[in-house]
Symmetry: D2
Subunit: 413 residues, 4 copies
Amino acid sequence: MIAKTPPMGWNSWDCYGASVNEETVRKNAKYMAENLAEAGYEYVVVDIQWYQPTADSHQYKSFAELSMDEYGRLLPAVNRFPSAKDGQGFKALGEYIHCLGLKFGIHIMRGIPRQAAFLNTKIKGTNITAREIALPNSICYWNPDMYGINTEAAGALEYYNSIFGLYAGWGVDFVKVDDIAREFHYGEIDLIRKAIDNCGREMVLSISPGASPLEQAEYFKQKVNMWRITDDFWDRWDLLEAMFERAEKWAPHSGAGHWPDADMLPVAAINQCYGEDEWTKFTQDEQITMMTLWCFLRSPLMIGSELTKLDDFTLKLLTNKDLLKMLSDSFNARQIYRRDDEICWLSVSKTGGYYSALFNTSDKEKEVRINLTSCEIDNVTQIFDLWSKEMIDIADALNVSVKPHGVRAFYIS
Amino acid sequence: MIAKTPPMGWNSWDCYGASVNEETVRKNAKYMAENLAEAGYEYVVVDIQWYQPTADSHQYKSFAELSMDEYGRLLPAVNRFPSAKDGQGFKALGEYIHCLGLKFGIHIMRGIPRQAAFLNTKIKGTNITAREIALPNSICYWNPDMYGINTEAAGALEYYNSIFGLYAGWGVDFVKVDDIAREFHYGEIDLIRKAIDNCGREMVLSISPGASPLEQAEYFKQKVNMWRITDDFWDRWDLLEAMFERAEKWAPHSGAGHWPDADMLPVAAINQCYGEDEWTKFTQDEQITMMTLWCFLRSPLMIGSELTKLDDFTLKLLTNKDLLKMLSDSFNARQIYRRDDEICWLSVSKTGGYYSALFNTSDKEKEVRINLTSCEIDNVTQIFDLWSKEMIDIADALNVSVKPHGVRAFYIS
Amino acid sequence: MIAKTPPMGWNSWDCYGASVNEETVRKNAKYMAENLAEAGYEYVVVDIQWYQPTADSHQYKSFAELSMDEYGRLLPAVNRFPSAKDGQGFKALGEYIHCLGLKFGIHIMRGIPRQAAFLNTKIKGTNITAREIALPNSICYWNPDMYGINTEAAGALEYYNSIFGLYAGWGVDFVKVDDIAREFHYGEIDLIRKAIDNCGREMVLSISPGASPLEQAEYFKQKVNMWRITDDFWDRWDLLEAMFERAEKWAPHSGAGHWPDADMLPVAAINQCYGEDEWTKFTQDEQITMMTLWCFLRSPLMIGSELTKLDDFTLKLLTNKDLLKMLSDSFNARQIYRRDDEICWLSVSKTGGYYSALFNTSDKEKEVRINLTSCEIDNVTQIFDLWSKEMIDIADALNVSVKPHGVRAFYIS
Amino acid sequence: MIAKTPPMGWNSWDCYGASVNEETVRKNAKYMAENLAEAGYEYVVVDIQWYQPTADSHQYKSFAELSMDEYGRLLPAVNRFPSAKDGQGFKALGEYIHCLGLKFGIHIMRGIPRQAAFLNTKIKGTNITAREIALPNSICYWNPDMYGINTEAAGALEYYNSIFGLYAGWGVDFVKVDDIAREFHYGEIDLIRKAIDNCGREMVLSISPGASPLEQAEYFKQKVNMWRITDDFWDRWDLLEAMFERAEKWAPHSGAGHWPDADMLPVAAINQCYGEDEWTKFTQDEQITMMTLWCFLRSPLMIGSELTKLDDFTLKLLTNKDLLKMLSDSFNARQIYRRDDEICWLSVSKTGGYYSALFNTSDKEKEVRINLTSCEIDNVTQIFDLWSKEMIDIADALNVSVKPHGVRAFYIS
């Protein structure tokens, strides 16, 4: 089973937008292998527009000429990914990442390039042309690259087979498909699901952007491995605070092989593509809150930062093994209550204990009391603080102090 | 802690509407003590309009004269409840029930009788009169008895204290307050909460009708012990099928002391007040489905039938100890998936196992397959069928046959 | 035909709320006969709660005892209307008003007194009692006096016949029925329509409050003579400004016998019941704007002030004959355009000319230009200013200066 | 003043979809000059995709290659319009139409061809290219030809100037701009308004498709000459019946220079492009109803049929001078009432009389009575039936018989 636990790794978007290049990917992969792999991080994901030679920021350039083969399949821009020369695509980069013991992921947009439709390229292995499957009026409103596919047309599945066949050849293990989840294009998700099943290589299927429609939860659970539950997440408290409600709604749908995705972790050095050297605006407590909430929800954990600049705090934050254990050991998480500024979550350990977290969303430190009996936790023998690593005195009720925008999280057995 | 597990018992509404009398209550209480108490049933609840002498059906009579004391407090109609003579109220009936080892509940409507406002009675222990606290424009649209209370007015709390003091004197253990949850009157709920806390006797506070607003979940959890999640529930498949979605939404809010209430169980002999002898229209499989869903949700279980007419099937249905154990042993229930006509629920046992149910909402028998690994249930050693009481062969996947509108439910350890 | 042109007159509400008395009505009627009748004002209307002995302001007292006869019919409170003694009702007051050459109107609430239901009075000429036709759950949310009528019940029409028979005996010419138009009770309007047709006396039927639902326009045109298009209108610019949009929507439905009602004119001395002597907060220009808009719409014109305190400006405002002529001479009014702060209306004269108005809703004086050709007004021979009474130079385009919140209105031939 | 009365003429869409050609246009223009011009028809309008060489029906072909000049300006497809050879565009066709004493109109889509963006053509007279003003994500969802314009971009107005300059050179008198009214692109309407004002030739500006938003009425009245109030109108009774409500809402906005457009008249031979010879499905009475309603509303009148196939009935229908006189003589039309299946309209004649119509939307012939006094029509001296051309007896009330889906229309003086 693929994605039996929530995928963990690194994604280039928060740091490099549409402009990431080969050197950066290799550097981050190497760092991950050496410093983060042991904690479970394994996917190295190249985000959007790796096929656009002039991309240099988080903004898209209208009508840019894209790197594309004779079958309308996008290829890495050689000026940004030198190893892609001579039509080699991401083969060399994938091999590098695999040699590090890691897995390789890429981002794509739903559909076929507008450029392919204009040039009317053939679909590989067929006599059908791009114009026969492209829908001129199915577009993404925030990115100008593609036309959607007429899923009823002959050649539609062949097109998706042709690109996933290419990716399989590159050694791709993870595909993040964009412009397909919020404006919910189930026909194309169906085709992509089939193309992955056809391609001869297991790949995690991740879909974006969010917020994905909650009423499609059953569909997502059957067809994809992770789906975004939010629009792009950045280092702002209002976005983090809003995630509690999203997590509450989606928690019942988190399970082996299918994960609600709260998006990348914008920690440490981010936004490095503007020639600037930006640092996350989250406080340390907010970052601890974020990691804790993501782990209770069992969201995928994709780091958004330039890894080589990680400081000690962030490295520890990302590799707290007692917390990360929740990704494989916990299930049936739910929000127990939300009262004013206090939010309490409970999750069950497969080995018989409980995980519990007390969040404080206010701007002041707070004394919080949790009555274990009323939380239906009986016969407590041990309470372990997942962040301070201390044992807590056992009593019927926990009285703990929680920092502003902070959390206290425990393993109770 | 009151209502640590979901209250279980009998309520007169499904069977007798507004017309129940003392003889009937005593007869059902006796039956319960002898046949159902061992399984956990304990509350005997007299539903609406026990104060209306001419009530004879599920319909209300406009402008009927109500039995009322000089303080505007409603009293049992003596023609229906003879032991209430001489202003004794429900004291004798309460004692009878307590002697059976059971607990005694009554129904009331939010507010003060319109009759009290017209006669301008005094509020007990004050010089304030009914007209000073009654709101002439706060009415229930389906029952003509009461005016709502101006919660800001002097005398408002004193009025509620005066009636709950009376009920405490009668030995009341459970109060179902109506016209207060769907049209959500939090001001009056607050006063009633205080009046119960003031009255010197523990009482379960149950509020009606539903559907209660989901966004008030935290309020309900703090203020009341059970709240209706649906309008009146009757023996129709469409209502039962609709309960799955309600249960899914409310399950995270079920916990010690506070229970989402899926309403009475309309089984066996119901609607006995019209001189007719009606039997539930639910099939046996539908009744098993209902009991199973109520137990996964941990809804209160209030039997709606004339108990003395229970047949063998129904008696077994209501006293399945392996299933009823869920009320005290299970927690963190959730719907795992809903796919076409299959619905799968999972709940956690405090003793380390799992409860799982596979519902079939279609009109045909169905072969259902559940992959235990993908349900995150590892290391299965034993699977016990909660209804057939048989052990099931252990395998990675369960292949079971489920009847139309039926369910298969298991304890997995 | 009754109400062939929009009814004009005086109503006690703006000035005296629920507390008007006989002396005041007589005083205002006399003033109207002497000073306003010539301009067309004829109805003297006693507004709400003339049957409530202790009413003293615009507020209603809950559960007040009402003056009522043995048939549950409300009677004038004798302490407020001395000539109503000995069950004479409004007979003497009506005669007084008729002797002045004027017409007499009263206000009633939809339904039957709650007091009648409690006392269970008989309906005149029947053996049916109040409780048989009262609906305990049909109430007005802002006034505590009445229950609505079960229009299907035997006795319902008889009740309305009984009260309109009484009113016919009093010489009532105009009835304003409240709590019936916004929360649209067509069943009771139907009964009242029949009761008026049955009572042997012509009466204008006016319904309140607003905003009446626009989608019921055809119904109103067939059943009633005037209906409120707004909630209570007071002397605030925001309410006056909002009337332009209401007038635009309702103008097509203004016609002989059926008039959209923009409510009373809160000019000069209003709110006299609190022991205060309040004066309208409208500027003079705003009052001219109001009168002009009401006349283009052909709304009924009901003066809200204490007439004996009218100053010279207001008297002229209310009796501008050139403007008031629109009520009988104009038709097919419409808003020609609304552009920023300019609003232009056009109405057609039955004698071949046009009425045109240019409103300025801004806070600054404005030069406004209106192109007569583009307004489809050809062959202009004469332009007369309806307020300044001056002739304007004829040209293809009018360039006029309009005061803040003011208007310029013309008759063009 | 342009469009002082509602434009009348012929449009190729109903008959030829996207496939009309030069021969057909000339043939219809000639017929119009000889048979319809005297009644007031003057515009000959070539509808959508005259620049698409392979268009052959009402359907659009995705990614077709369009006839375009070096500046990204679309040109007539020479295979369909032979006189457009050598870059002459519509010059010769325009001259032919002008020589017939008629006026020449064309249809365009909002925006710049996608083909221009792909080829990155220069905008005439500038160094700016198509890609700099095209918005890749502003598209029409039902036609694949264009991208919308970034109205803020340098070059945006220059582009529109360049195409309207071209059209002025062709002698265009009327431009119907599509994909701009319902999805309301006011920025591009503003630019087009300016480009027309700049081009040195008067042109009627018509915008499509509908329903245009009613709340933009003032904007339309200032910027364009006609705007569609409905989606495409075809020969179906439900569409015609629905037009009554649209006409009622829009009638107050009809006036010199600005006309609500109820769309083409699908009479006689329509849908001729499929090799079929289809005839309107409207009954004769329905067609009379349509013409009457359009004339009361003063909608533009654009014939949708192949003119050379007009039969005698249709020719008379389209040239009823007594009815067509309303376009110049009537104003302030409104719906007087709508009662069950009867709809009554009234319009005012500039020469002192009235136009009145009684529609019957039921499926049965109906006797309809109209009380002239209650319609505020006094002093009737003469009633003329606009369709039968007979004088009607004068009386206080008209009793007339109206055919199913039919109308009786009168001039009353």
